[in-house]
């Protein structure tokens, strides 16, 4: 599963991270876990690319980070979404939905798949 969704995730990992941070700020593991739980393990993000992706988003000021204490009393780096990040997520989500809808329409067009 992970291998087959890997390519797809490359382009969309940013949107997934932003969406995960929309409700509340959390650490890298929290983001990965939220995506897994929300999609009931359909999407499993590649953890090796999660942290570099977080750095890229932070460089673009779509998210911000600071050190905090986790609920099991460990030092952890917490990420939160910025105002720019919210705006970016809205635009990207709309484009993604349009794109997914278009692909779905194509796939449903006649002749039907066997």
């Amino acid at each position: 599963m992970a291998t087959r969704t890997g390519e797809l995730l490359q382009g969309t990992l940013g949107i997934l991270i932003l969406k995960a941070l929309l409700a509340d700020s959390t650490h890298g593991y929290g983001i990965a876990r939220w995506i897994e739980q929300t999609t009931r393990d359909t999407l499993r993000i590649e953890e090796g690319s999660l942290y570099p992706a977080l750095r890229r988003l932070e460089d673009r000021r779509l998210i911000a980070s600071e050190w905090g204490i986790s609920d099991n009393n460990r030092r952890a780096r917490y990420y939160r979404i910025t105002a720019d990040g919210r705006a970016h997520l809205r635009a990207e989500a709309a484009a993604w939905t349009r794109y997914a809808g278009a692909v779905t329409t194509v796939l449903r067009a006649a002749p039907a798949l066997a």
């Binding site: 890298g28 590649e46 780096r77």
Partner: protein
């Protein structure tokens, strides 16, 4: 899933603050972040019933290439940290300088104390270094100072090498196998009369080849030639300082008359400003050919003829490609020869040859110089360190008094107190120190320690941040904030 509580202020172990003297530890932060991820995943797998060993393995396998990600994150974070601090520094410097000047004007007592401390510290160090530099390190301002040597004499009764007689000098000058040439000078004080004014001045009687051998060009007029010296032509060369003092730097000084102990001489030229003789500790006012010495001071007649005694400092030039050791052995041969030929005068006489730069300030004591110089430089460096420490403790004491102000500042600031705002107040402190240090540094051209105290201030300030101001959020009761915010 369980959401963590909103992040509280991090609370690292107290002693860890002392490890952060050189700023944030990027490597440790990246490791902490990734380790946290692995630990959480391991816990998740354990909760699903895996045994701890397997859970850890599975978590690592799930993550992928840990080392590669770690390296990529570290290099990214280092770059970000660098550019962030550079940008922050650049944008803050202007405001900080203004803030520093204001703060110093608000506390003139503190400013005076700090300025005095640093002025004394850097002043003392710079002075000692300037003396050491001029006396021991700078080569003579003559042609090819590298192959100049000083030749001194020890006789049976004397342990320290010193001057020799003129007759022995002539023999030393004759060792052309090792010495290209050698010049001798005798320094004494004589009464010099210019117009109606007479004062006691330092006069150097020099061998006829003194000027051509050193290759020094006068700033005004000319020097006396060997032919003139041999013909006892009454010409003198005056020193730059003496020219300024006695003649007010008059451009028409060449050709004027001076008299040395009653003997009338004509000024032939003025030595250049940086040339003050071949001995670093003696600044002659006037040079005369040694052939005139007898006329100026008849009592020197015997001295010029005898081989015993001394008075003449000998400086020579090594032949090209001749080493100091070769020159020394040639002079040993000469010494043995002289001992045999003139047993009455030259008994037990030996010659010592040393490079001119190594014969500072005088060949008699130059062996001790490295040790003495180290002691003096260490002492003055200590003085500078003490001055820095004084100012640092002054600043600490003052910072202690400003705790409330700093706490309010950081509490009102939009950013977290422990991140950028302290970096900014650290820049404040570094720039507060700069004007102090700058005022007296203007005229200290060559101060090697110039940037050092700024570094100490900057890093020390950084350090003080972590030790003094980390817990500052606790100093502000929450209810102070509305009161401060209200006008």
């Amino acid at each position: 899933m369980t959401r963590p509580t909103p992040p509280a202020a991090p609370r690292p172990a107290t002693w860890r603050r002392y490890l952060r003297f050189w700023g944030p530890n990027v490597g440790a932060d990246v490791r902490d972040e990734l380790q946290f991820h692995i630990d959480m995943r391991t816990r998740e797998f354990e909760a699903r019933g895996m045994d701890p060993q397997d859970a850890r393995q599975a978590a690592l396998a799930r993550f992928g290439d840990m080392a590669r990600v770690d390296a990529a994150l570290q290099s990214h974070d280092r770059r970000v940290d660098r550019t962030a601090s550079v940008r922050e520094f650049a944008t803050n410097v202007g405001a900080d300088v203004r803030h520093a000047v204001r703060a110093l004007r608000r506390a003139p007592g503190f400013a005076t104390a700090a300025i005095l401390c640093l002025a004394l510290g850097t002043g003392a160090t710079a002075t000692v270094f300037a003396v050491v530099d001029a006396l021991l390190l700078q080569p003579l301002p003559v042609q090819h100072p590298g192959n100049l040597v000083v030749i001194a004499t020890t006789s049976s009764g004397m342990t320290l090498p010193g001057d020799d007689s003129y007759q022995n000098y002539l023999d030393i000058q004759g060792t052309h196998a090792v010495l290209e040439d050698a010049a001798a000078s005798l320094t004494d004080a004589f009464n010099i009369r210019v117009g109606n004014q007479t004062d006691l001045r330092t006069v150097q009687a020099v061998s006829e080849n003194y000027w051509p051998m050193l290759g020094v060009r006068p700033v005004l007029g000319r020097t006396f030639t060997p032919e003139e010296a041999r013909a006892r032509a009454p010409f003198a060369v005056i020193g730059y300082r003496y020219w300024q003092q006695a003649f007010g730097g008059a451009p028409d000084v060449v050709g004027r008359a001076v008299s040395v102990d009653g003997i009338p001489l004509t000024i032939a030229g003025v030595a250049p400003r940086d040339f003050t003789g071949a001995h670093p500790m003696i600044i002659p006012d006037l040079w005369v050919p040694v052939t005139l010495l007898y006329e100026i001071d008849p009592s020197t007649h015997d001295q010029m003829q005898r081989r015993a005694g001394g008075g003449f400092r000998i400086i020579g030039r090594l032949q090209k490609g001749v080493s100091l050791a070769t020159a020394q052995s040639a002079l040993n041969v000469l010494a043995t020869h002289l001992q045999h030929q003139y047993p009455a005068d030259d008994e037990g006489k030996r010659f010592v040859v040393q490079r001119e730069l190594r014969a500072r300030p005088d060949i008699a004591v130059s062996d001790l110089v490295p040790r003495v110089a180290v002691v003096f430089m260490a002492l003055t460096t200590l003085v500078l360190l003490i001055a820095c420490a004084n100012v640092a403790s002054l600043m600490l004491a003052r910072a202690n008094g400003r705790r409330t102000e700093l706490a309010v500042r950081s509490a009102l600031s939009r950013r977290r107190a422990t991140s950028a705002s302290t970096r900014r107040s650290r820049t404040h402190r570094a720039t507060s120190s700069a004007p102090c240090a700058g005022r007296h540094r203007k005229d200290q051209g060559r101060v090697p320690a110039a940037g050092l105290d700024l570094v100490i201030c900057f890093r020390g300030g950084n350090y003080a941040d972590r030790v003094l101001f980390v817990p500052q959020r606790e100093f502000v009761p929450r209810d102070i904030l509305p009161a401060v915010a209200r006008p």
